[in-house]
Symmetry: C2
Protein backbone atom coordinates (compact mmCIF):
# COMPACT_ATOMS: atom_id res chain seq x y z
CA UNK A 1 0.00 0.00 0.00
CA UNK A 2 1.47 3.31 -1.11
CA UNK A 3 1.30 5.99 1.57
CA UNK A 4 2.19 9.59 0.91
CA UNK A 5 4.76 10.14 3.62
CA UNK A 6 4.17 12.70 6.33
CA UNK A 7 5.24 13.14 9.90
CA UNK A 8 2.61 12.37 12.53
CA UNK A 9 3.44 12.73 16.21
CA UNK A 10 7.13 13.06 15.30
CA UNK A 11 7.18 9.78 13.43
CA UNK A 12 6.81 8.73 9.79
CA UNK A 13 3.20 7.79 8.98
CA UNK A 14 4.32 4.68 7.09
CA UNK A 15 6.29 3.49 10.11
CA UNK A 16 3.32 4.06 12.40
CA UNK A 17 1.04 2.09 10.09
CA UNK A 18 3.45 -0.81 9.88
CA UNK A 19 4.03 -0.87 13.61
CA UNK A 20 0.48 -0.32 14.85
CA UNK A 21 -1.35 -1.72 11.80
CA UNK A 22 -3.47 1.40 11.98
CA UNK A 23 -3.51 4.73 10.14
CA UNK A 24 -3.84 6.84 13.26
CA UNK A 25 -4.27 10.08 11.35
CA UNK A 26 -6.83 9.35 8.63
CA UNK A 27 -8.52 6.13 9.73
CA UNK A 28 -8.27 6.01 13.48
CA UNK A 29 -9.59 2.82 14.96
CA UNK A 30 -9.43 0.80 11.75
CA UNK A 31 -7.43 -2.37 12.03
CA UNK A 32 -5.29 -2.91 8.93
CA UNK A 33 -4.71 -6.60 8.11
CA UNK A 34 -1.28 -8.00 9.02
CA UNK A 35 -0.35 -8.75 5.41
CA UNK A 36 -0.65 -5.14 4.28
CA UNK A 37 2.53 -3.10 4.28
CA UNK A 38 2.68 0.69 4.05
CA UNK A 39 5.39 1.89 1.67
CA UNK A 40 6.16 5.51 0.91
CA UNK A 41 8.16 4.78 -2.23
CA UNK A 42 5.80 4.56 -5.18
CA UNK A 43 8.30 2.75 -7.39
CA UNK A 44 8.67 -0.01 -4.82
CA UNK A 45 4.88 -0.42 -4.59
CA UNK A 46 4.39 -0.65 -8.34
CA UNK A 47 7.25 -3.08 -8.79
CA UNK A 48 5.77 -6.51 -9.44
CA UNK A 49 2.16 -5.32 -8.86
CA UNK A 50 -0.56 -7.18 -10.76
CA UNK A 51 -3.49 -5.06 -9.63
CA UNK A 52 -3.43 -1.34 -8.83
CA UNK A 53 -6.26 -0.03 -6.69
CA UNK A 54 -6.61 3.75 -6.81
CA UNK A 55 -8.15 5.31 -3.71
CA UNK A 56 -7.02 8.90 -3.40
CA UNK A 57 -8.45 12.42 -3.68
CA UNK A 58 -8.83 13.13 -7.40
CA UNK A 59 -6.69 16.26 -7.13
CA UNK A 60 -3.61 14.05 -6.65
CA UNK A 61 -4.29 11.60 -9.47
CA UNK A 62 -2.29 13.35 -12.19
CA UNK A 63 0.87 13.55 -10.10
CA UNK A 64 0.67 9.92 -9.05
CA UNK A 65 0.12 8.75 -12.64
CA UNK A 66 3.00 10.89 -13.89
CA UNK A 67 5.30 9.38 -11.31
CA UNK A 68 4.26 5.83 -12.21
CA UNK A 69 4.97 6.56 -15.89
CA UNK A 70 8.36 8.08 -15.08
CA UNK A 71 9.38 5.14 -12.94
CA UNK A 72 8.69 2.92 -15.92
CA UNK A 73 8.38 -0.31 -13.91
CA UNK A 74 4.68 -1.12 -14.36
CA UNK A 75 3.94 -4.63 -15.61
CA UNK A 76 2.42 -4.75 -19.09
CA UNK A 77 -0.39 -7.07 -17.97
CA UNK A 78 -1.22 -5.24 -14.76
CA UNK A 79 -4.79 -4.03 -14.23
CA UNK A 80 -6.31 -1.18 -12.30
CA UNK A 81 -9.45 -0.45 -10.35
CA UNK A 82 -10.45 3.08 -9.50
CA UNK A 83 -12.42 3.95 -6.40
CA UNK A 84 -11.82 7.66 -6.88
CA UNK A 85 -14.82 9.92 -6.98
CA UNK A 86 -14.49 13.19 -8.78
CA UNK A 87 -14.66 14.75 -12.15
CA UNK A 88 -12.02 15.97 -14.53
CA UNK A 89 -12.86 18.57 -17.12
CA UNK A 90 -10.95 18.60 -20.36
CA UNK A 91 -11.92 21.48 -22.62
CA UNK A 92 -15.16 21.90 -20.64
CA UNK A 93 -16.17 18.27 -21.08
CA UNK A 94 -16.19 15.82 -18.20
CA UNK A 95 -13.81 12.88 -18.49
CA UNK A 96 -13.82 9.50 -16.81
CA UNK A 97 -11.07 9.13 -14.24
CA UNK A 98 -10.77 5.45 -15.14
CA UNK A 99 -10.22 6.48 -18.77
CA UNK A 100 -7.46 8.82 -17.71
CA UNK A 101 -5.80 5.99 -15.79
CA UNK A 102 -6.18 3.65 -18.78
CA UNK A 103 -4.70 6.15 -21.20
CA UNK A 104 -1.80 7.29 -19.08
CA UNK A 105 -0.76 3.83 -17.90
CA UNK A 106 -1.91 1.87 -20.95
CA UNK A 107 -3.60 -0.81 -18.82
CA UNK A 108 -7.23 -1.78 -18.27
CA UNK A 109 -9.05 0.10 -15.53
CA UNK A 110 -12.36 -0.76 -13.89
CA UNK A 111 -14.24 1.44 -11.50
CA UNK A 112 -16.08 0.75 -8.31
CA UNK A 113 -18.70 3.06 -6.97
CA UNK A 114 -21.44 2.55 -4.45
CA UNK A 115 -23.11 3.75 -1.35
CA UNK A 116 -20.52 3.96 1.37
CA UNK A 117 -18.79 6.27 3.79
CA UNK A 118 -15.25 5.44 4.85
CA UNK A 119 -16.15 5.55 8.54
CA UNK A 120 -18.67 2.77 8.05
CA UNK A 121 -15.97 0.50 6.76
CA UNK A 122 -13.89 1.33 9.74
CA UNK A 123 -16.43 0.17 12.21
CA UNK A 124 -18.06 -2.36 9.93
CA UNK A 125 -21.28 -0.92 11.16
CA UNK A 126 -23.20 -2.42 8.37
CA UNK A 127 -23.55 -3.80 4.94
CA UNK A 128 -21.86 -1.81 2.27
CA UNK A 129 -23.43 -1.97 -1.11
CA UNK A 130 -20.83 -1.46 -3.75
CA UNK A 131 -21.75 -1.59 -7.35
CA UNK A 132 -19.22 -2.95 -9.70
CA UNK A 133 -19.06 -1.01 -12.91
CA UNK A 134 -17.51 -2.67 -15.93
CA UNK A 135 -16.98 -2.11 -19.62
CA UNK A 136 -18.88 -4.44 -21.88
CA UNK A 137 -15.92 -5.27 -24.07
CA UNK A 138 -13.97 -7.02 -21.41
CA UNK A 139 -16.82 -8.64 -19.61
CA UNK A 140 -15.42 -12.13 -19.11
CA UNK A 141 -11.99 -11.24 -17.90
CA UNK A 142 -13.28 -8.67 -15.57
CA UNK A 143 -16.01 -10.78 -14.11
CA UNK A 144 -13.39 -13.39 -13.35
CA UNK A 145 -11.28 -10.79 -11.68
CA UNK A 146 -13.90 -9.98 -9.12
CA UNK A 147 -16.14 -12.89 -8.58
CA UNK A 148 -14.24 -14.07 -5.53
CA UNK A 149 -14.34 -10.75 -3.73
CA UNK A 150 -17.92 -10.86 -2.57
CA UNK A 151 -18.44 -10.84 1.17
CA UNK A 152 -21.66 -10.81 3.10
CA UNK A 153 -21.10 -7.19 3.99
CA UNK A 154 -19.47 -6.10 0.80
CA UNK A 155 -20.39 -7.27 -2.62
CA UNK A 156 -20.30 -6.40 -6.24
CA UNK A 157 -22.94 -6.05 -8.82
CA UNK A 158 -21.90 -5.58 -12.39
CA UNK A 159 -23.61 -2.81 -14.22
CA UNK A 160 -23.58 -1.55 -17.76
CA UNK A 161 -23.08 2.03 -16.73
CA UNK A 162 -19.51 2.64 -17.75
CA UNK A 163 -19.92 6.40 -18.03
CA UNK A 164 -22.51 7.52 -15.58
CA UNK A 165 -21.19 6.34 -12.25
CA UNK A 166 -18.42 8.88 -12.07
CA UNK A 167 -20.68 11.83 -12.83
CA UNK A 168 -22.89 10.60 -10.04
CA UNK A 169 -19.93 10.02 -7.74
CA UNK A 170 -18.73 13.54 -8.35
CA UNK A 171 -22.00 15.47 -8.38
CA UNK A 172 -23.38 13.83 -5.26
CA UNK A 173 -20.68 15.71 -3.36
CA UNK A 174 -22.01 18.98 -4.75
CA UNK A 175 -25.57 18.13 -3.77
CA UNK A 176 -24.35 17.09 -0.32
CA UNK A 177 -23.09 20.65 0.17
CA UNK A 178 -26.62 21.89 -0.53
CA UNK A 179 -28.12 19.46 1.98
CA UNK A 180 -25.46 20.51 4.48
CA UNK A 181 -26.37 24.19 4.08
CA UNK A 182 -30.01 23.46 4.78
CA UNK A 183 -29.15 21.26 7.75
CA UNK A 184 -27.07 24.04 9.23
CA UNK A 185 -30.12 26.29 9.11
CA UNK A 186 -32.98 23.98 10.02
CA UNK A 187 -33.70 20.48 11.21
CA UNK A 188 -36.40 19.57 8.75
CA UNK A 189 -36.34 16.29 6.87
CA UNK A 190 -38.78 17.71 4.31
CA UNK A 191 -36.37 20.25 3.00
CA UNK A 192 -33.40 17.91 2.98
CA UNK A 193 -35.41 15.38 0.98
CA UNK A 194 -36.48 18.08 -1.44
CA UNK A 195 -32.86 19.11 -2.04
CA UNK A 196 -31.84 15.47 -2.57
CA UNK A 197 -34.70 15.03 -5.02
CA UNK A 198 -33.88 18.15 -7.03
CA UNK A 199 -30.22 17.20 -6.79
CA UNK A 200 -30.90 13.85 -8.41
CA UNK A 201 -32.79 15.64 -11.20
CA UNK A 202 -29.88 17.96 -11.89
CA UNK A 203 -27.35 15.10 -11.74
CA UNK A 204 -29.41 13.20 -14.27
CA UNK A 205 -29.75 16.22 -16.49
CA UNK A 206 -26.02 16.93 -16.36
CA UNK A 207 -25.11 13.31 -17.11
CA UNK A 208 -27.57 13.11 -20.01
CA UNK A 209 -26.13 16.27 -21.49
CA UNK A 210 -22.70 14.70 -21.94
CA UNK A 211 -23.63 11.04 -22.17
CA UNK A 212 -27.04 10.94 -23.88
CA UNK A 213 -27.17 7.13 -23.84
CA UNK A 214 -27.23 6.80 -20.08
CA UNK A 215 -30.16 4.69 -18.96
CA UNK A 216 -32.66 6.14 -16.52
CA UNK A 217 -32.42 3.14 -14.22
CA UNK A 218 -28.77 3.76 -13.53
CA UNK A 219 -29.67 6.80 -11.49
CA UNK A 220 -31.54 4.57 -9.12
CA UNK A 221 -28.70 2.18 -8.49
CA UNK A 222 -26.40 1.87 -5.53
CA UNK A 223 -23.80 4.15 -7.13
CA UNK A 224 -26.61 6.62 -7.90
CA UNK A 225 -29.50 7.19 -5.54
CA UNK A 226 -28.17 5.17 -2.60
CA UNK A 227 -24.77 6.82 -2.71
CA UNK A 228 -26.41 10.24 -3.04
CA UNK A 229 -28.57 9.70 0.05
CA UNK A 230 -25.68 8.30 2.08
CA UNK A 231 -23.41 11.19 1.17
CA UNK A 232 -26.13 13.76 1.79
CA UNK A 233 -26.79 12.45 5.27
CA UNK A 234 -23.40 11.81 6.70
CA UNK A 235 -20.51 12.51 4.36
CA UNK A 236 -17.69 15.00 4.74
CA UNK A 237 -19.16 17.51 2.33
CA UNK A 238 -22.42 17.50 4.22
CA UNK A 239 -20.68 18.02 7.56
CA UNK A 240 -18.47 20.86 6.35
CA UNK A 241 -21.30 22.64 4.52
CA UNK A 242 -23.42 22.42 7.66
CA UNK A 243 -20.66 24.12 9.58
CA UNK A 244 -20.21 26.68 6.77
CA UNK A 245 -23.90 27.62 7.03
CA UNK A 246 -23.85 27.72 10.82
CA UNK A 247 -20.98 30.19 10.67
CA UNK A 248 -22.97 32.11 8.06
CA UNK A 249 -20.30 31.75 5.42
CA UNK A 250 -17.88 33.91 7.40
CA UNK A 251 -15.16 31.26 7.64
CA UNK A 252 -13.29 29.97 4.62
CA UNK A 253 -13.60 26.43 3.34
CA UNK A 254 -9.90 25.93 4.06
CA UNK A 255 -10.43 26.76 7.72
CA UNK A 256 -13.46 24.49 8.05
CA UNK A 257 -11.68 21.69 6.21
CA UNK A 258 -8.70 22.00 8.53
CA UNK A 259 -10.84 22.07 11.66
CA UNK A 260 -13.21 19.26 10.77
CA UNK A 261 -11.37 16.87 8.48
CA UNK A 262 -7.99 16.43 10.09
CA UNK A 263 -6.14 16.62 6.79
CA UNK A 264 -8.67 14.84 4.62
CA UNK A 265 -9.85 16.59 1.49
CA UNK A 266 -13.25 18.03 0.67
CA UNK A 267 -14.17 16.89 -2.86
CA UNK A 268 -17.41 18.78 -3.36
CA UNK A 269 -15.90 22.25 -3.31
CA UNK A 270 -13.55 21.66 -6.24
CA UNK A 271 -16.21 19.76 -8.13
CA UNK A 272 -18.72 22.58 -7.65
CA UNK A 273 -16.26 25.01 -9.20
CA UNK A 274 -15.53 22.70 -12.13
CA UNK A 275 -19.17 21.94 -12.83
CA UNK A 276 -20.11 25.63 -12.57
CA UNK A 277 -17.40 26.52 -15.10
CA UNK A 278 -18.83 23.94 -17.51
CA UNK A 279 -22.35 25.32 -17.09
CA UNK A 280 -21.11 28.85 -17.64
CA UNK A 281 -19.12 27.80 -20.71
CA UNK A 282 -22.16 26.09 -22.23
CA UNK A 283 -24.51 28.91 -21.12
CA UNK A 284 -26.62 26.51 -19.09
CA UNK A 285 -26.67 28.17 -15.69
CA UNK A 286 -30.43 28.75 -15.64
CA UNK A 287 -31.03 25.04 -16.24
CA UNK A 288 -29.25 24.06 -13.02
CA UNK A 289 -30.58 26.32 -10.27
CA UNK A 290 -29.50 24.05 -7.41
CA UNK A 291 -25.89 23.56 -8.50
CA UNK A 292 -25.54 27.26 -9.32
CA UNK A 293 -26.97 28.34 -5.99
CA UNK A 294 -24.58 25.98 -4.20
CA UNK A 295 -21.73 27.59 -6.13
CA UNK A 296 -22.85 31.11 -5.28
CA UNK A 297 -23.20 30.28 -1.59
CA UNK A 298 -19.83 28.55 -1.57
CA UNK A 299 -17.83 31.17 -3.43
CA UNK A 300 -19.78 34.37 -3.87
CA UNK A 301 -20.92 35.07 -0.33
CA UNK A 302 -24.55 34.40 -1.16
CA UNK A 303 -26.65 33.81 1.95
CA UNK A 304 -26.93 30.04 2.68
CA UNK A 305 -30.67 30.61 3.24
CA UNK A 306 -31.08 31.22 -0.46
CA UNK A 307 -30.88 27.50 -1.06
CA UNK A 308 -34.56 27.53 -0.11
CA UNK A 309 -35.38 29.57 -3.21
CA UNK A 310 -34.43 26.63 -5.39
CA UNK A 311 -37.42 24.74 -4.04
CA UNK A 312 -39.83 27.15 -5.69
CA UNK A 313 -38.25 26.81 -9.11
CA UNK A 314 -41.04 25.56 -11.27
CA UNK A 315 -38.90 24.91 -14.27
CA UNK A 316 -37.41 21.68 -12.97
CA UNK A 317 -40.64 19.80 -13.35
CA UNK A 318 -40.53 20.10 -17.09
CA UNK A 319 -36.99 19.10 -17.78
CA UNK A 320 -36.48 18.30 -21.43
CA UNK A 321 -33.34 16.35 -22.08
CA UNK A 322 -31.49 17.08 -25.26
CA UNK B 1 -63.25 21.39 10.98
CA UNK B 2 -64.74 18.06 11.98
CA UNK B 3 -63.15 16.59 15.09
CA UNK B 4 -63.93 13.10 16.33
CA UNK B 5 -64.97 13.82 19.86
CA UNK B 6 -63.02 12.48 22.77
CA UNK B 7 -62.36 13.50 26.34
CA UNK B 8 -58.93 14.97 27.02
CA UNK B 9 -58.03 16.11 30.52
CA UNK B 10 -61.71 15.80 31.51
CA UNK B 11 -62.87 18.12 28.77
CA UNK B 12 -64.22 17.67 25.24
CA UNK B 13 -61.44 17.89 22.67
CA UNK B 14 -63.56 20.15 20.42
CA UNK B 15 -64.13 22.57 23.30
CA UNK B 16 -60.41 22.65 24.08
CA UNK B 17 -59.55 23.36 20.45
CA UNK B 18 -62.07 26.18 20.23
CA UNK B 19 -60.97 27.72 23.50
CA UNK B 20 -57.22 27.35 23.17
CA UNK B 21 -57.03 27.30 19.34
CA UNK B 22 -54.78 24.31 19.72
CA UNK B 23 -55.24 20.54 19.48
CA UNK B 24 -53.39 19.76 22.66
CA UNK B 25 -53.54 16.01 22.15
CA UNK B 26 -52.50 15.43 18.54
CA UNK B 27 -50.81 18.64 17.47
CA UNK B 28 -49.40 20.19 20.59
CA UNK B 29 -47.87 23.59 20.00
CA UNK B 30 -49.60 24.25 16.70
CA UNK B 31 -51.58 27.46 16.62
CA UNK B 32 -54.88 26.96 14.83
CA UNK B 33 -56.11 30.10 13.02
CA UNK B 34 -58.92 32.04 14.74
CA UNK B 35 -61.39 31.44 11.91
CA UNK B 36 -61.28 27.66 12.23
CA UNK B 37 -63.93 26.07 14.40
CA UNK B 38 -63.81 22.51 15.72
CA UNK B 39 -67.16 20.76 15.42
CA UNK B 40 -67.87 17.21 16.51
CA UNK B 41 -71.09 16.89 14.53
CA UNK B 42 -70.29 15.76 11.01
CA UNK B 43 -73.67 16.82 9.64
CA UNK B 44 -73.13 20.36 10.86
CA UNK B 45 -69.67 20.49 9.23
CA UNK B 46 -70.89 19.24 5.86
CA UNK B 47 -73.88 21.56 5.82
CA UNK B 48 -73.14 24.36 3.33
CA UNK B 49 -69.57 23.15 2.68
CA UNK B 50 -68.13 23.89 -0.78
CA UNK B 51 -64.84 22.11 -0.33
CA UNK B 52 -64.19 18.99 1.76
CA UNK B 53 -60.61 18.32 2.76
CA UNK B 54 -60.00 14.78 3.94
CA UNK B 55 -57.14 14.37 6.40
CA UNK B 56 -57.65 11.25 8.48
CA UNK B 57 -56.17 7.77 8.95
CA UNK B 58 -57.40 5.68 6.05
CA UNK B 59 -58.91 3.10 8.38
CA UNK B 60 -61.66 5.59 9.27
CA UNK B 61 -62.51 6.75 5.76
CA UNK B 62 -65.33 4.29 5.08
CA UNK B 63 -67.18 5.18 8.26
CA UNK B 64 -66.91 8.90 7.65
CA UNK B 65 -68.09 8.57 4.05
CA UNK B 66 -71.03 6.39 5.10
CA UNK B 67 -72.09 8.97 7.64
CA UNK B 68 -71.88 11.80 5.10
CA UNK B 69 -74.06 9.80 2.70
CA UNK B 70 -76.59 9.02 5.41
CA UNK B 71 -76.84 12.63 6.49
CA UNK B 72 -77.73 13.50 2.91
CA UNK B 73 -76.88 17.18 3.21
CA UNK B 74 -73.83 17.41 0.91
CA UNK B 75 -74.03 20.13 -1.77
CA UNK B 76 -74.23 18.79 -5.32
CA UNK B 77 -71.44 21.07 -6.52
CA UNK B 78 -69.11 20.52 -3.57
CA UNK B 79 -65.59 19.28 -4.26
CA UNK B 80 -63.14 17.26 -2.26
CA UNK B 81 -59.40 17.02 -1.78
CA UNK B 82 -57.82 14.02 -0.20
CA UNK B 83 -54.59 14.20 1.79
CA UNK B 84 -55.02 10.64 3.06
CA UNK B 85 -52.17 8.25 2.52
CA UNK B 86 -52.95 4.58 2.43
CA UNK B 87 -54.14 1.84 0.21
CA UNK B 88 -57.42 0.09 -0.13
CA UNK B 89 -57.59 -3.36 -1.59
CA UNK B 90 -60.73 -4.42 -3.38
CA UNK B 91 -60.60 -8.04 -4.53
CA UNK B 92 -56.81 -7.97 -4.20
CA UNK B 93 -56.42 -4.91 -6.39
CA UNK B 94 -55.35 -1.56 -4.99
CA UNK B 95 -57.85 1.26 -5.29
CA UNK B 96 -57.42 5.00 -5.21
CA UNK B 97 -58.78 6.57 -2.05
CA UNK B 98 -59.79 9.65 -4.03
CA UNK B 99 -61.77 7.38 -6.37
CA UNK B 100 -63.54 5.89 -3.38
CA UNK B 101 -64.45 9.38 -2.17
CA UNK B 102 -65.64 10.36 -5.67
CA UNK B 103 -67.81 7.28 -6.02
CA UNK B 104 -69.36 7.31 -2.58
CA UNK B 105 -70.08 11.03 -2.48
CA UNK B 106 -70.59 11.58 -6.21
CA UNK B 107 -68.38 14.69 -6.25
CA UNK B 108 -64.98 15.45 -7.76
CA UNK B 109 -62.00 14.60 -5.63
CA UNK B 110 -58.40 15.70 -6.08
CA UNK B 111 -55.46 14.39 -4.14
CA UNK B 112 -52.47 16.07 -2.62
CA UNK B 113 -49.32 14.24 -1.79
CA UNK B 114 -45.81 15.37 -1.14
CA UNK B 115 -42.85 15.29 1.09
CA UNK B 116 -43.94 16.35 4.53
CA UNK B 117 -44.20 15.31 8.15
CA UNK B 118 -46.96 16.81 10.26
CA UNK B 119 -44.53 18.02 12.92
CA UNK B 120 -42.74 20.15 10.37
CA UNK B 121 -45.93 22.01 9.64
CA UNK B 122 -46.44 22.56 13.31
CA UNK B 123 -43.15 24.32 13.79
CA UNK B 124 -42.91 25.65 10.25
CA UNK B 125 -39.37 24.49 10.36
CA UNK B 126 -39.06 24.60 6.69
CA UNK B 127 -40.39 24.62 3.22
CA UNK B 128 -42.92 21.96 2.51
CA UNK B 129 -42.99 20.69 -0.99
CA UNK B 130 -46.42 19.44 -1.83
CA UNK B 131 -47.18 18.08 -5.21
CA UNK B 132 -50.61 18.67 -6.50
CA UNK B 133 -51.97 15.69 -8.32
CA UNK B 134 -54.80 16.23 -10.75
CA UNK B 135 -56.86 14.37 -13.30
CA UNK B 136 -56.34 15.51 -16.84
CA UNK B 137 -60.00 15.72 -17.65
CA UNK B 138 -60.72 18.55 -15.30
CA UNK B 139 -57.51 20.46 -15.67
CA UNK B 140 -58.84 23.98 -15.99
CA UNK B 141 -61.33 23.94 -13.19
CA UNK B 142 -58.90 22.34 -10.87
CA UNK B 143 -56.03 24.61 -11.63
CA UNK B 144 -58.30 27.53 -10.90
CA UNK B 145 -59.25 25.96 -7.62
CA UNK B 146 -55.69 25.89 -6.33
CA UNK B 147 -53.74 28.59 -7.98
CA UNK B 148 -54.21 31.01 -5.12
CA UNK B 149 -53.04 28.63 -2.44
CA UNK B 150 -49.33 28.83 -3.10
CA UNK B 151 -47.23 30.16 -0.27
CA UNK B 152 -43.50 30.57 -0.11
CA UNK B 153 -43.27 27.60 2.25
CA UNK B 154 -46.03 25.54 0.74
CA UNK B 155 -46.80 25.24 -2.89
CA UNK B 156 -48.42 23.10 -5.46
CA UNK B 157 -47.16 21.55 -8.59
CA UNK B 158 -49.60 19.84 -10.88
CA UNK B 159 -48.65 16.43 -12.08
CA UNK B 160 -50.14 13.95 -14.47
CA UNK B 161 -49.81 11.10 -12.06
CA UNK B 162 -53.40 10.46 -11.13
CA UNK B 163 -52.79 6.87 -10.03
CA UNK B 164 -49.29 6.54 -8.77
CA UNK B 165 -49.13 8.97 -5.93
CA UNK B 166 -51.29 6.96 -3.62
CA UNK B 167 -49.35 3.74 -4.12
CA UNK B 168 -46.26 5.71 -3.28
CA UNK B 169 -47.94 7.40 -0.34
CA UNK B 170 -48.95 4.03 1.04
CA UNK B 171 -45.89 1.94 0.28
CA UNK B 172 -43.40 4.50 1.59
CA UNK B 173 -44.80 3.75 5.05
CA UNK B 174 -43.94 0.08 4.57
CA UNK B 175 -40.40 0.91 3.45
CA UNK B 176 -40.06 3.28 6.41
CA UNK B 177 -40.63 0.30 8.71
CA UNK B 178 -37.68 -1.44 7.05
CA UNK B 179 -35.46 1.59 7.50
CA UNK B 180 -36.62 1.83 11.11
CA UNK B 181 -35.66 -1.80 11.76
CA UNK B 182 -32.16 -1.18 10.44
CA UNK B 183 -31.82 2.02 12.41
CA UNK B 184 -32.76 0.21 15.59
CA UNK B 185 -29.89 -2.19 14.99
CA UNK B 186 -27.14 0.01 13.57
CA UNK B 187 -26.27 3.61 12.92
CA UNK B 188 -25.04 3.29 9.36
CA UNK B 189 -26.26 5.60 6.62
CA UNK B 190 -25.10 3.11 3.97
CA UNK B 191 -27.58 0.49 4.95
CA UNK B 192 -30.45 2.92 5.36
CA UNK B 193 -29.78 4.31 1.90
CA UNK B 194 -29.65 0.81 0.47
CA UNK B 195 -33.05 -0.02 1.98
CA UNK B 196 -34.51 3.23 0.63
CA UNK B 197 -33.11 2.44 -2.81
CA UNK B 198 -34.45 -1.11 -2.88
CA UNK B 199 -37.69 0.20 -1.42
CA UNK B 200 -38.11 2.59 -4.31
CA UNK B 201 -37.50 -0.28 -6.74
CA UNK B 202 -40.18 -2.40 -5.12
CA UNK B 203 -42.63 0.52 -4.96
CA UNK B 204 -42.10 1.11 -8.65
CA UNK B 205 -42.49 -2.55 -9.46
CA UNK B 206 -45.69 -2.79 -7.44
CA UNK B 207 -47.17 0.33 -9.02
CA UNK B 208 -46.29 -0.81 -12.53
CA UNK B 209 -47.95 -4.13 -11.92
CA UNK B 210 -51.32 -2.54 -11.34
CA UNK B 211 -50.92 0.65 -13.34
CA UNK B 212 -48.64 -0.20 -16.26
CA UNK B 213 -48.86 3.29 -17.73
CA UNK B 214 -47.18 5.01 -14.81
CA UNK B 215 -44.25 7.09 -16.00
CA UNK B 216 -40.82 6.45 -14.57
CA UNK B 217 -40.29 10.11 -13.74
CA UNK B 218 -43.19 10.14 -11.34
CA UNK B 219 -41.21 8.03 -8.91
CA UNK B 220 -38.67 10.80 -8.65
CA UNK B 221 -41.16 13.50 -7.78
CA UNK B 222 -41.94 15.13 -4.48
CA UNK B 223 -44.76 12.67 -3.77
CA UNK B 224 -42.36 9.84 -4.70
CA UNK B 225 -38.69 9.94 -3.85
CA UNK B 226 -38.76 13.03 -1.64
CA UNK B 227 -41.70 11.79 0.40
CA UNK B 228 -40.07 8.38 0.71
CA UNK B 229 -36.82 9.83 2.04
CA UNK B 230 -38.62 12.16 4.44
CA UNK B 231 -40.78 9.37 5.80
CA UNK B 232 -37.86 6.97 6.08
CA UNK B 233 -35.84 9.43 8.12
CA UNK B 234 -38.28 10.88 10.55
CA UNK B 235 -41.83 9.62 10.19
CA UNK B 236 -43.94 7.73 12.69
CA UNK B 237 -43.47 4.37 11.03
CA UNK B 238 -39.73 4.79 11.11
CA UNK B 239 -39.76 5.73 14.79
CA UNK B 240 -42.00 2.87 15.87
CA UNK B 241 -40.12 0.27 13.80
CA UNK B 242 -36.85 1.46 15.31
CA UNK B 243 -38.31 0.88 18.75
CA UNK B 244 -39.71 -2.50 17.64
CA UNK B 245 -36.23 -3.61 16.54
CA UNK B 246 -34.58 -2.27 19.70
CA UNK B 247 -36.99 -4.35 21.79
CA UNK B 248 -36.18 -7.29 19.50
CA UNK B 249 -39.78 -7.72 18.42
CA UNK B 250 -40.86 -8.70 21.92
CA UNK B 251 -43.42 -5.94 22.32
CA UNK B 252 -46.54 -5.71 20.20
CA UNK B 253 -47.16 -2.94 17.69
CA UNK B 254 -50.19 -1.87 19.73
CA UNK B 255 -48.01 -1.30 22.79
CA UNK B 256 -45.36 0.63 20.86
CA UNK B 257 -48.02 2.66 19.10
CA UNK B 258 -49.64 3.53 22.41
CA UNK B 259 -46.34 4.46 24.04
CA UNK B 260 -44.88 6.49 21.20
CA UNK B 261 -47.74 8.00 19.25
CA UNK B 262 -50.10 9.34 21.88
CA UNK B 263 -53.20 8.07 20.10
CA UNK B 264 -52.05 8.66 16.54
CA UNK B 265 -52.22 5.75 14.11
CA UNK B 266 -49.43 3.81 12.49
CA UNK B 267 -50.29 3.45 8.80
CA UNK B 268 -47.45 1.22 7.66
CA UNK B 269 -48.45 -1.83 9.67
CA UNK B 270 -51.89 -2.17 8.11
CA UNK B 271 -50.52 -1.38 4.68
CA UNK B 272 -47.81 -4.03 5.03
CA UNK B 273 -50.48 -6.60 5.77
CA UNK B 274 -52.64 -5.55 2.85
CA UNK B 275 -49.77 -5.44 0.37
CA UNK B 276 -48.47 -8.81 1.56
CA UNK B 277 -51.94 -10.34 1.04
CA UNK B 278 -51.97 -9.02 -2.51
CA UNK B 279 -48.51 -10.45 -3.22
CA UNK B 280 -49.55 -13.79 -1.78
CA UNK B 281 -52.77 -13.81 -3.79
CA UNK B 282 -50.90 -13.09 -7.03
CA UNK B 283 -48.05 -15.48 -6.11
CA UNK B 284 -45.48 -12.70 -6.30
CA UNK B 285 -43.77 -12.95 -2.93
CA UNK B 286 -40.35 -13.82 -4.33
CA UNK B 287 -40.43 -10.69 -6.49
CA UNK B 288 -40.68 -8.40 -3.47
CA UNK B 289 -38.07 -9.58 -0.96
CA UNK B 290 -37.98 -6.30 0.99
CA UNK B 291 -41.72 -5.92 1.52
CA UNK B 292 -42.05 -9.61 2.39
CA UNK B 293 -39.19 -9.47 4.88
CA UNK B 294 -40.75 -6.40 6.50
CA UNK B 295 -44.00 -8.35 6.82
CA UNK B 296 -42.30 -11.37 8.34
CA UNK B 297 -40.41 -9.26 10.87
CA UNK B 298 -43.58 -7.34 11.73
CA UNK B 299 -45.95 -10.28 12.10
CA UNK B 300 -44.10 -13.58 12.09
CA UNK B 301 -41.45 -12.99 14.73
CA UNK B 302 -38.65 -13.03 12.19
CA UNK B 303 -35.45 -11.50 13.54
CA UNK B 304 -35.23 -7.77 12.60
CA UNK B 305 -31.59 -8.43 11.61
CA UNK B 306 -32.82 -10.44 8.65
CA UNK B 307 -33.60 -7.20 6.84
CA UNK B 308 -29.89 -7.23 5.98
CA UNK B 309 -30.36 -10.36 3.87
CA UNK B 310 -32.44 -8.37 1.42
CA UNK B 311 -29.34 -6.40 0.47
CA UNK B 312 -27.71 -9.46 -1.02
CA UNK B 313 -30.67 -10.27 -3.23
CA UNK B 314 -29.24 -10.17 -6.71
CA UNK B 315 -32.55 -10.49 -8.44
CA UNK B 316 -33.60 -6.91 -7.95
CA UNK B 317 -31.07 -5.61 -10.42
CA UNK B 318 -32.81 -7.31 -13.28
CA UNK B 319 -36.36 -6.31 -12.64
CA UNK B 320 -38.54 -6.95 -15.63
CA UNK B 321 -41.85 -5.19 -15.45
CA UNK B 322 -44.79 -7.00 -16.91
Amino acid sequence: MYVKEEIVEEEKLSDIINKKKENIKYMKGMKIPENILAISNLKEVIDDADLLIFVLPHQYLDNVLDEIVQNNNLKKNARAISLIKGIKMVRSKPQLLSDIIEKKLDIECLALSGSNIAESFVYLYSCCLLSWIYYDLMYKNRLYLFQNYNRNFFFFVHLHLWCYYFICGALKNVIALGVGFIDGLTASYNTKSAIIRIGLEEMKKFAKMFFPNVLDETFLDSCGLADLITTCLGGRNFKCAKEFAKRKGRDSWELIEAELLNGQKLQGIDTTKEVYDVLEYHQLKTEFPLICTIYEISFQKKNPCSIIDVLSTKKLRNIKYK
